[in-house]
């Protein structure tokens, strides 16, 4: 106790004295990362951590931030446990005690939402790699910058994809069928689909919510068959995605395309369980390992060698976030939060190791949302090594040498 207080007292005094010079005295760029390190989303927090570390190691090894005299980046972590109140408390601590220059996080939208308010109050820039709830960048904050696409953009991109495919392959799509699990997720998608279908002049021939717990989906498949749509759009969990895919094949339903929304269709056991029946299915995801961007394969190989699993959408956005920050720091040439904020707002990152995403530039709009962000769309295809997911959209991220099958009539 005595020893401890003797050591801490001068330390406290020193830090108090240095308090006002704290920023100027820093010899690293301190990045506070609030992530779920334990609790239900811990694996996702770990993915984000591994990706940040890989990026920061690369940046530091390449000489740090040159405009700050080669200053290194330093990552400081805080565990949100996926709890909003924990995220808020940790943000306060990181800003006041750790004197971080920038914050990032928090994966769970429910944590990110209140935590960004803390950063806004202190004027500390907050980079959100992935937290998809629309409202995060709709609070009128000046210090929030989101890399990932918003929730509502997924449906928007499914429709842009449909339009692009029609233009590219000269096949007209008129009638759409919406079939979705009857929870929050499915219904949310369907509401946006209906609006988009109307705006784009499609006819909706079937709008069918079904219970995910269904043990027989042939009545739903019969409805699809009788409605005779050109394109079927789905939101499904895993068991029902398998059941639907097999039943659609059994009833020989002719469709120009099936467009799924991740979830069950992206489940690792999905393709194994349905086999050939999944062929030509389109699915939307944040990122896929085969995305045709320079450095994507190398980054994935390096990540896999280190962590034993492929880069995920969450990891890629966290990786990119570090390079967005580096780019901003170079241009800011200062650790002043306001200067960093200005630089972030003026971001137009088009190349560099971080740009392994499906779109071509990171640029933030007035609300701080990356206006180019978009998920990618894959097609399930057998290219000789069994079924795999092949990136096909956006067109410039398409796997080299692959021509999508559209219409995907079997």
């Amino acid at each position: 106790m005595n020893v401890l207080s003797r050591l801490t007292l001068p330390a406290v005094a020193l830090s108090l004295a240095l308090g006002s010079f704290g920023l100027a005295q820093a010899n690293t760029v301190k990045i506070g990362n609030i992530e779920p390190m334990s609790g239900p989303s811990a694996t996702l927090g770990q993915q984000g951590k591994a990706a940040r570390e890989m990026a920061v190691e690369e940046i530091n090894a390449a000489g740090g931030i040159k405009s700050l005299g080669g200053m290194k980046l330093e990552l400081i972590y805080a565990d949100s446990e996926s709890k909003p109140e924990k995220g808020v408390a940790e943000a306060e601590r990181l800003i006041n005690t750790e004197k971080v220059h920038v914050l990032t996080g928090c994966w769970n939208s429910a944590v990110t939402y209140p935590t960004t308010a803390v950063a806004e109050r202190y004027g500390i820039p907050f980079i959100v790699p992935v937290s998809v709830a629309d409202k995060i960048t709709e609070q009128g904050f000046k210090n929030v910058f989101r890399i990932a696409a918003k929730d509502s953009w997924w449906t928007r991109d499914q429709f842009s994809f449909l339009k692009d495919m029609q233009d590219e392959f000269g096949t007209k799509v008129e009638k759409l069928a919406f079939v979705y699990e009857n929870g929050d997720w499915g219904k949310g998608f369907a509401t946006q689909w209906k609006k988009l279908a109307e705006e784009n002049g499609y006819t909706v021939v079937l709008d069918e919510p079904y219970p995910s717990t269904a043990t027989d989906l042939s009545p739903v498949v019969q409805k699809i068959r009788r409605a005779n749509p050109d394109v079927l759009m789905l939101v499904s969990n895993a068991a029902d995605a398998i059941l639907l895919t097999n039943t659609i094949a059994e009833y020989k339903v002719k469709l120009k395309a099936i467009v799924a929304s991740g979830g069950g269709h992206a489940d690792p056991s999905f393709m194994k369980a349905v086999g050939k029946n999944a062929e030509n299915l389109f699915d939307i995801v944040e990122w896929e390992t085969d995305v045709n961007k320079p450095g994507a394969k190398e980054a994935n190989d390096k990540f896999k060698a280190k962590n034993g699993y492929n880069l995920t959408g969450e990891a890629v956005d966290a990786y990119l976030a570090m390079y967005v920050l580096k780019d901003a720091l170079e241009r800011a040439g200062s650790l002043e939060p306001a200067k960093i904020r200005e630089a972030l707002a003026a971001t137009n990152l088009t190349d560099g190791p971080g740009m392994i995403v499906g779109y071509d530039a990171v640029k933030f709009d007035a609300s701080g949302q990356n206006e180019n962000a978009s998920p990618v769309i894959v097609q399930v295809a057998d290219l000789g090594q069994g079924l795999e997911r092949v990136t096909i959209w956006p067109k410039n991220a398409r796997r080299a040498g692959y021509t999508p099958v559209f219409p995907a009539n079997k």
């Binding site: 009857n182 027989d216 019969q222 059994e250 369980a273 349905v274 029946n277």
Partner: protein, 295 residues
């Protein structure tokens, strides 16, 4: 019109399979007078047994019955003898052995989570089997072949159980125990042995249902839960303890599920099934085909 016929056929076929999944539940209840909450887990165990029997040996899916029936009978027999019997004995003087119900709930959780540990959360299905996606095409009508075979299996199973209960000594002993366990004991019937056998038969019947389902349904650790709730509704609809009631209750649920969605969304048909369940409970608690009986 053609649509309605097509949907009714699917409803009857799928419904009879639902009835088959619920048959084991009704047998066990009829004799032990206990709702077996682990019933869905028994179905899940049966599906895993069938899945592995078929994938490892490569036999035709229905040949797996030769393995699944004895395995499930032994499993049910052992489960009752080792886990449930001691509770029955401890609660010998209680009219309604509620604790047994709680024990079956425990068994449900243990089985589901053990499966999760051993086989992981993956969804599995028999991808290459001679029945996969096989359809009878009658003009523009489609009838699923594995569901049709499942319907036959359900009818044969129901008939076989009926004959067994009526004609064999063991069957008579089981019926005697289910009517009055005290009187049966006085006649020299070992009621715990009857419980073991009844539980074994219930589990074996559930195993048959699992084999009927496996050609067109996927297997995962919580698959039983989906059929569990349906099973309870079917058994109550048809009358607790009645084999033919289970079959008919299943067909009613199947018809609602299959024909209903053509007039409304699939979500609504689920609500109708539950609504019917409540109405039956209010109006005729003994079920549509069950007799009034003091359990």
């Amino acid at each position: 019109m053609l649509y309605v016929i097509e949907d009714m056929i699917n409803g009857i076929l799928m419904g009879s399979i639902y009835g088959l999944t619920a048959m084991g539940l009704t047998i066990i209840f009829g004799v032990l007078k206990v709702i077996n909450f682990a019933h869905g887990s028994l179905l899940m165990v049966g599906m895993y047994a069938a899945y592995w029997a078929i994938t490892l040996t490569g036999v035709h899916p229905y040949l797996a019955l030769a393995i699944v029936i004895p395995v499930m009978f032994a499993f049910g027999y052992a489960l009752q003898n080792i886990v449930i019997k001691p509770i029955f004995i401890a609660e010998k003087n209680v009219r309604e052995p509620i604790t047994v119900i709680i024990v079956t709930t425990g068994i449900w959780y243990i089985l589901d989570n053990l499966t999760l540990l051993v086989f992981g959360p993956q969804y599995r299905s028999l991808t290459a089997n001679p029945l996969q996606g096989q359809m009878f095409e009658l003009g523009s009508m489609f009838v699923s072949a594995p569901k049709f075979y499942g319907f036959i299996i359900a009818l044969v199973t129901a008939a076989a159980i009926h004959l067994f209960m009526q004609k064999t000594i063991m069957g008579r002993a089981i019926r005697a125990t289910s009517m009055d366990r005290e009187a049966a004991s006085l006649m020299g019937i070992n009621q715990y042995r009857i419980y073991n056998v009844a539980f074994g038969i219930g589990a074996a019947t559930t195993g048959i249902a699992a084999v009927a389902l496996i050609p067109f349904n996927n297997v995962f650790p919580t698959v039983g839960v989906l059929f569990d709730i349906k099973g309870f509704i079917i058994v109550v609809l048809g009358g607790l303890g009645s084999i033919s009631g289970a079959l008919l209750g299943g067909i009613i649920v199947g018809l609602i599920e299959s024909v209903g969605p053509q007039f409304m969304t699939a979500t609504w048909t689920e609500a109708i099934v539950y609504g019917l369940f409540l109405i039956v409970l209010f109006v005729k608690p003994s079920g549509l085909f069950g007799q009034k009986h003091d359990w």
